[in-house]
């Protein structure tokens, strides 16, 4: 028989057993209650898609084609009234507490009807994920409760993630490139906080957000070791909005320019700085890379990957609808064998992409941002404790530096390197699988629909225009493929290096 050590050795051989069994392992480790949460969010998302998204999606796209400075506040108001901006905020911070593992299912339902509207909700959680990745419990609690208050007062409070700069796209999102890149958003330490100057671009929903989670750098030449994460509120002196980008698609979800000119950020709004992370077990640069992995893994697997699934599904549904009514040579397309094969290929693309995103999401659930909250006793304790009791306890606890210290110990120090590799690798894999499936299915649908597909009023051409952005933001698919190599493949070859000048 096989000895324990031999078994361990065999299972660690590539592909590593843990890497190929995310969902299987999650079945045992994750709370069962998440399944019912998923049912809830899919049902509410479908209702919202029917009542709000479908009737207005094409009109919003057209409206912004005509007037690209238009801001879709009415949609944001509706999403806020439906409670969507607090849906995935944990109950300990005053939110509705739906598990982040279910956000992908939610996003898919809305984005399969309109990617831009899916983004108008989803991007808020991208900002929120960045906030969580700081593990600054005081800031997380404070901003979470502002979002909750915004829901109650009907004044939406959204969060944005601000990272990309005019001369730094890839450079701003990968710690390997920061020190040789062209980063320009400078943070100067001043009495009582930081003063930041620089510009951020392509910030999704910037103009619509109240808080902006901004990466800035105290030393632009050594940015990887000198990154600060700051929360800047709209209206702060020295902070202004620039242009909104004229995009090909996802027009409802605006892309903003954020301009900082000696903008003072008080110490209380600093989420992460070196003084806070220099006592952790990893180096400051490694911790910054770990924060990136936390952000990108969840936002790629549970976010943009599922947006890709949604676009692939939207294209499939358009093609199916067209084939069901269109006759060619006297026979409905749907009853022609070649068309059935084509539709089946599209369906398979959706299913395979969704499976990849589900695997990535489960990896994150076990080893990523929500790992602590998904430990079964903690999960059920938080779920069944009355909200007022949770508020009373956590509002006080989160004020104490001890909480930030504790969560950073748990989330940074206790996360193993192989777990970082797994979540980050699977995040990239899911993102590429989902978004490539989106473009593939859009091409297939348009080839099937011909002239009908070219018309805006049929909705299919919009899906293609919208979907193309998915292959670009949150790291181009090219960069994400290299990240898959770095995180999941390179370790099997000692001589392999990734994201290095030697790769030219």
């Amino acid at each position: 028989m096989i000895s324990a050590s031999e078994k361990r050795q065999l299972l660690n051989r590539e592909p590593c057993f843990e890497d190929i069994t995310n969902s299987l392992r999650a079945t045992g480790s994750q709370p069962k209650g998440i399944i019912n949460e998923a049912r809830d969010v899919v049902a509410i998302a479908r209702k919202f898609a029917d009542e709000v998204v479908r009737p207005h999606a094409l009109a919003l796209d057209l409206k912004i084609t005509q007037d690209h400075d238009y801001l879709p506040w009415e949609f944001v108001q509706q999403a806020n009234e439906w409670g969507f901006y607090t849906l995935f905020i944990p109950r300990i911070f005053g939110g509705q507490g739906y598990n982040i593992s279910t956000v992908g299912f939610f996003v898919e339902e809305i984005a399969s009807v309109c990617l831009a509207m899916g983004n108008l909700i989803g991007v808020h959680y991208l900002g929120y994920i960045k906030l969580i990745a700081s593990w600054n419990m005081k800031m997380i609690n404070r901003l979470s409760r502002e979002v909750v208050a915004g829901e109650k007062s009907k004044k939406p409070c959204l969060l944005s993630l601000a990272m990309t700069e005019p001369n730094a796209g890839t450079d701003s999102q990968n710690s390997e490139f920061m020190n040789t890149g062209n980063l320009g958003c400078h943070a100067r330490k001043v009495d009582g906080g930081y003063s930041i100057s620089g510009t951020k671009i392509f910030i999704s929903c910037g103009h619509l957000s109240t808080w902006h989670l901004v990466h800035a750098y105290t030393d632009l030449d050594r940015a990887a070791e000198n990154t600060v994460m700051l929360a800047v509120k709209t209206g702060t002196k020295g902070f202004s909005f620039g242009r909104t980008e004229k995009k090909m698609g996802q027009q409802g979800s605006i892309a903003s320019e954020l301009i900082f000119n000696d903008c003072f950020v008080p110490t209380g709004d600093v989420c992460v700085e070196n003084e806070q992370t220099n006592r952790l077990s990893r180096s400051i640069k490694e911790t910054n890379a770990q924060i990136f992995a936390y952000i990108w893994s969840t936002s790629r697997a549970a976010g943009v990957g599922y947006m890709g699934v949604a676009a692939a599904r939207g294209a499939f549904e358009k093609a199916l609808g067209f084939a069901s009514v269109q006759k060619v040579d006297g026979t409905l397309l749907i009853n022609q064998e070649w068309c059935q094969g084509l539709l089946a290929r599209m369906y398979i693309n959706v299913a395979v992409a969704r499976t990849a995103c589900s695997e990535g999401t489960q990896a994150c659930a076990m080893h990523g941002l929500w790992r602590i909250l998904n430990i079964k006793p903690i999960y059920y304790l938080i779920r069944y404790t009355p909200a007022p009791v949770l508020d009373m306890i956590f509002n006080r606890l989160c004020e104490r530096p001890f909480m930030t210290w504790l969560f950073r110990k748990l989330c940074f120090n206790h996360q193993k390197n192989e777990e970082i590799d797994r979540i980050d690798g699977w995040g990239s894999l899911a993102k590429v699988a989902g978004t490539d499936a989106a473009i593939t299915n859009c091409h297939m649908a348009l080839e099937l629909m011909g002239q009908a597909g070219l018309r805006h009023d049929q909705g299919m051409e919009k899906i293609l225009r919208d979907a193309k952005l998915l292959q670009i933001y949150e790291g181009t698919n090219e960069i994400n493929r290299i990240n898959v190599f770095k995180r999941l493949i390179a370790r099997s070859c000692d001589q392999a290096v990734a994201f290095s000048p030697s790769n030219i």
């Binding site: 006759k327 060619v328 040579d329 009023d457 670009i472 181009t476």
Partner: protein, 372 residues
């Protein structure tokens, strides 16, 4: 395109490229705003004055009477910068060829010789479908001195700009398709606002509703399908030339950008992954150029099977253009997706023109049917 050292073609190549660079590249973003911005009528007139609409038109009709290569060279160069003008040129050629295929050149002569400037010269046509697959078609009823048409024709390209249109229909009681010439100012002709579309914004289509509108039969009743196929065989390669031009424009903009943009401390053109994408683009373009040039040569030499050469080549080149323009955006990242640059338009236009003459799967099946 390969000009085989033909002096006339070389001159045409230079003239068209210079025109595209000077007249089209500058106003591309603004022109593409149509119908939410002005129509580029003055550019259209300049192209008309340069005889870009007359290259393959027989001399008897005031044209230059050159071969298909000349049209392809023009379209390729125009579409490097803005495929909308190429779309207008091609639509007009589609209409002309339908007349010629129907042996109705005299009727065509009465239209274009009456013309006064580009817009009066243009004839609208439904370019993005195959009328034999279209249901329902316009119905034609015989009257004393001609025909009256009833029904609708969706996405009639140039319908809001041209003076006349050629429209497929079915004569009541007669099998098969026929083509009709419709004066778009006639009573009973209703034209929608320009249809919002994926690409070719400045080559707009409209939905046409005909309520007992007077029309003239083009050719003979029931012969429209054969005429359409004849036209497609000839002009498929012109559509492919448009795709080739779009690809060349995308490649040039991609290379220019990657030489200027740096990430990770080095120009992104030095990243080997980027070089691989650009290499694949370059190879695709060279392959497409060979396909288009060879198809033109086969047609001009009247080689046996030139129709198959043109049709198969066109299907392939359109497919390659759709993939290449995706990469054209990808190499530029976020800015490639923005309207300030040309790549997003090329991506849309390449996909748009792939549907020329019908849906791609049926074009493939028809190709097989033709060669079996």
């Amino acid at each position: 395109m390969i000009t085989n050292n033909d002096k006339e073609l070389k001159l045409l190549d230079r003239t068209a490229r210079e025109f595209a660079r000077k007249e089209l590249a500058v106003g591309r973003e603004e022109n593409d705003r149509f119908p939410h911005g002005p129509f580029f009528g003055s550019v259209l007139e300049k192209a008309f004055d340069l005889d870009f609409f007359h290259s393959i038109l027989p001399e008897a009709h005031g044209g230059i009477g050159q071969g298909i290569s000349s049209l392809c060279i023009l379209l390729e160069n125009i579409c490097r910068e803005d495929a909308s003008l190429g779309g207008i040129m091609l639509t007009n050629s589609v209409a002309h060829e339908l007349f010629f295929a129907s042996n109705a050149s005299e009727l065509l002569g009465t239209i274009i010789e009456d013309g006064n400037g580009a817009e009066a010269f243009l004839i609208a046509a439904p370019v993005f479908n195959d009328p034999s697959s279209q249901t329902p078609l316009v119905t034609a009823y015989k009257t004393g001195d001609g025909y009256q048409l009833k029904g609708r024709q969706d996405y009639l390209v140039l319908g809001g700009i041209a003076g006349h249109a050629i429209v497929p229909g079915v004569v009541d009681g007669v099998d098969g398709i026929s083509f009709f010439l419709v004066d778009l100012k006639e009573k009973g002709v209703k034209i929608s606002e320009p249809v919002e579309s994926l690409g070719l914004h400045a080559c707009p289509g409209v939905d046409l509703v005909l309520e007992n509108a007077r029309a003239i039969l083009v050719g003979e009743e029931g012969t429209g399908k054969a005429c359409f196929e004849k036209m497609v065989s000839k002009l498929s390669v012109a559509g492919a030339a448009m795709a080739l031009g779009i690809m060349k424009g995308a490649f040039k903009e991609a290379v220019d950008y990657t030489q200027k943009r740096s990430q990770g401390g080095r120009p992104i053109i030095d990243w080997s992954e980027m070089r691989m994408i650009l290499a694949n683009m370059a190879i695709t373009i060279k392959t497409s150029e060979m396909i288009v040039s060879r198809a033109c040569q086969a047609m001009e030499n009247n080689e046996s099977g030139w129709e198959a050469c043109a049709r198969a080549g066109a299907i392939q080149v359109h497919d390659m253009a759709c993939n290449l323009t995706t990469d054209g955006i990808q190499v530029m990242g976020g800015v490639g997706y923005m309207k300030d640059f040309g790549q997003e338009k090329r991506f849309r236009d390449a996909k748009h023109i792939q549907s020329m003459f019908g849906i791609t799967p049926m074009k493939k099946l028809k190709y097989l049917e033709n060669i079996l």
